[in-house]
Amino acid sequence: MQKLRYLSTFGLIVLVALFLTVSDVKAEVGVTDTSILVGCSNSFSGPLVYPGTQLVNNGLKGYFGYINAQGGVNGRKILTQFYDDGYKPQNAVANSKRLVEQDKVFAILASQGTGPVMATVKYLTQNKVPLLFPFQGVPLSGQKTIFTSFTPYPNQSELVVTWLVKVKGFKRIGILYQDDKYGYTFRDPGQKMLQKFGLKWVAAESYKRGAKDLSAQVAKLRKANLDAVLLVATPPPGATFLKEAHKQGWKNTRIISSGPLTDEKYINLTGGVGEGVWGLSLWPDPVHSQDPAVVEYREIMQKYGKDRDKTPNRYSLYGYFYAKLFVEGLKRAGKNVTRESFIAALEGIKDWESGMIPPVSFSGTNHLTQNSGFMVEVQQGVFRPISGWLTLKEGTLVPLK
């Protein structure tokens, strides 16, 4: 037995060593004459599995499949490598190190989730690996190698509040928010905006993560006699709130869903009581929009999408859009692409028309892709636009397009 033990310990160590000695050598990080490798750590299990699989399998892989079928970019096929982190920051760190040091990716593209993304920022920045368009809404600016994606949460909150006050003339506005950082990034900027108009949250109620019962909050908000209430929640409690409001017969207040709630899945969860809800949409309707660019998205997803579930949705649209923007940067960087020349090429993008969101411009100091949205209303289970594209410039609403 003793001998067996020592042998197995020794064998184990040797085995691990063999496991790990996988080395490959490339001339340029992630780039060869015929290929370029990008990847990310994302959620293929855990709470964000649906956004993760749709974003990667359909969005990124779908669009890159389409581009590769046409011969790639500058003669290079786009190769991808993904790892699952299950929304755990430590796994995201391990995966990112693996992508950078073992797989030698050119850039990290569209990783997901505030915690996992934040955990990798320091490491990626120190190693000068581009972190492109992570799917999360907390502002991240000031780094040359980081480009961010959608309208940050504080900006969304300011935009919605300004629209309600200036366009709709609402005065009595309340908020229900999740009692954590996510909730505060809506509550606090919204409050500052209201103060500019001489107003404040007339009622502010919160709930703990994972709460199942929101009846007390609904009753209190209802009593406050509001014009509108901002709903800052994740989909399950968001749906609970709508059902509870419906049950209590609360009709005279407009409910405005925020952030990731403007999503078809969430409206389905409410079982039909979501009618009349407003929200800020960052995307054209992936299912119903007849804009040529969205029609093309649906066709490409059907043909090249890699997931079992190819129903159009905002997450695969996200992946598709940012894959397209990545390809645009790659084209502009030319044949002799390096990380530096690629970043310079992205920074050179001015008024790029995607046909999906307002024109995109970057600069040496601005690495934010989108800072806009439009208001929608749920009619027969579908988000219908009730405003054009809007953005905030120095506190005033500016229509776009």
Partner: protein, 313 residues
């Protein structure tokens, strides 16, 4: 068959040398992964002392890991001059004290009720981290400064390897001594039969709380190393799932075995890393392989090995 003393020393030294020179031949990611394996092995070891040796089901060790990690992060950020072994010792001690305190009310509980209580403990810890944001950074997370001893800064995975591996080896040897000594025998007696243990003079309350404290100490130190290696902490890292993973490690490796703890940690973490590239399929494969382990090796790998030996000798 007993190895002679000379061979024993030789084979151990050989293994040690291989382990210590390994980073010279490996990629950076592999060095990082080895360090992560060592940290999880340490947790698994701590958990095995409590679950495998003493028979107390603990389903909240992610909580102790979190305590160790945050204590280390907070001390390192605020008292830069503290040498990191002192910080790690502090992390282990604070975690150990909390483990001891948790052990006291749990004395009244038995079997699965202990699992429930420890499970709740894990959830409470991550909720406290979330709410006490002035100290922990809450949801914003906590960026951990590099470990240092005097002027020497452990600022790369390569350097951290030589902090993490020695700590792991020392603590493994300590655990080995512990279980072979009086305390270890008391633990095992407790696990086999509380009544019998009492009749031969083992103080139940004392040894149960000691087991909790030691287990929490090990996990706390592992948490400190975890903080240094991962460099960013947030409550999302310390979930129930992680606690369950730790239990899976000792079940796969072998309950009540030091070697089993290490094997289990290596296999589970290695498997997760290898499967991470299979994306949505990995959950299925991971689950299936756990079932297979349970069916064919109910006593873990070490248990199976000793069964095999008995059959053939």
């Amino acid at each position: 068959m007993q190895l002679s003393g000379k061979w024993k020393i030789l084979s151990w030294t050989g293994a040690l040398v291989v382990l210590l020179i390994m980073p010279l031949f490996l990629g950076k990611y592999s060095v990082f992964l080895l360090s992560l394996l060592a940290i999880y092995a340490l947790v698994s070891l701590g958990l095995n002392l409590l679950m495998g040796y003493t028979g107390q089901i603990a389903a909240g060790h992610a909580g102790f890991l979190a305590i160790g990690a945050y204590v280390t992060a907070i001390f390192t950020a605020n008292f830069e001059w503290l040498p990191c072994p002192v910080t790690l010792l502090l992390a282990g001690t604070i975690s150990g004290i909390i483990g001891f305190l948790l052990g006291i009310p749990i004395l009244r509980l038995k079997g699965f009720y202990i699992a429930m209580a420890t499970l709740a403990f894990g959830v409470v810890v991550s909720e406290i981290i979330l709410q006490w944001s002035s100290l922990t950074g809450g949801d914003d997370g906590f960026s951990v400064p590099a470990a240092r001893i005097g002027g020497f800064v452990f600022d790369s995975d390569f350097k951290l390897f030589y902090l993490i591996i020695p700590v792991t080896i020392i603590m493994t040897l300590l655990a080995k001594n512990l279980v072979n000594g009086y305390i270890g025998r008391a633990f095992i007696a407790l696990r086999e039969s509380e009544i019998a243990a009492q009749t031969i003079g083992v103080d139940l309350a004392k040894y149960k709380t000691i087991a909790f404290a030691i287990s929490a100490f090990y996990t706390g130190v592992a948490g400190g190393l975890f903080a240094y290696l991962i460099t960013y902490l947030s409550p999302d890292a310390f979930t129930i799932e992680l606690s369950i993973d730790f239990i899976a490690m000792i079940v796969i490796g072998g309950m009540g075995s030091i070697l089993g703890s290490i094997i289990g940690a290596v296999i589970l973490t290695g498997m997760q890393q290898m499967l991470a590239g299979l994306l949505d399929l990995q959950v299925l494969i991971f689950g299936l392989s756990l079932i297979i382990f349970m069916i064919f090796m109910p006593k873990g790998i070490v248990g199976m090995l000793s069964d095999l030996r008995e059959r053939f000798s």
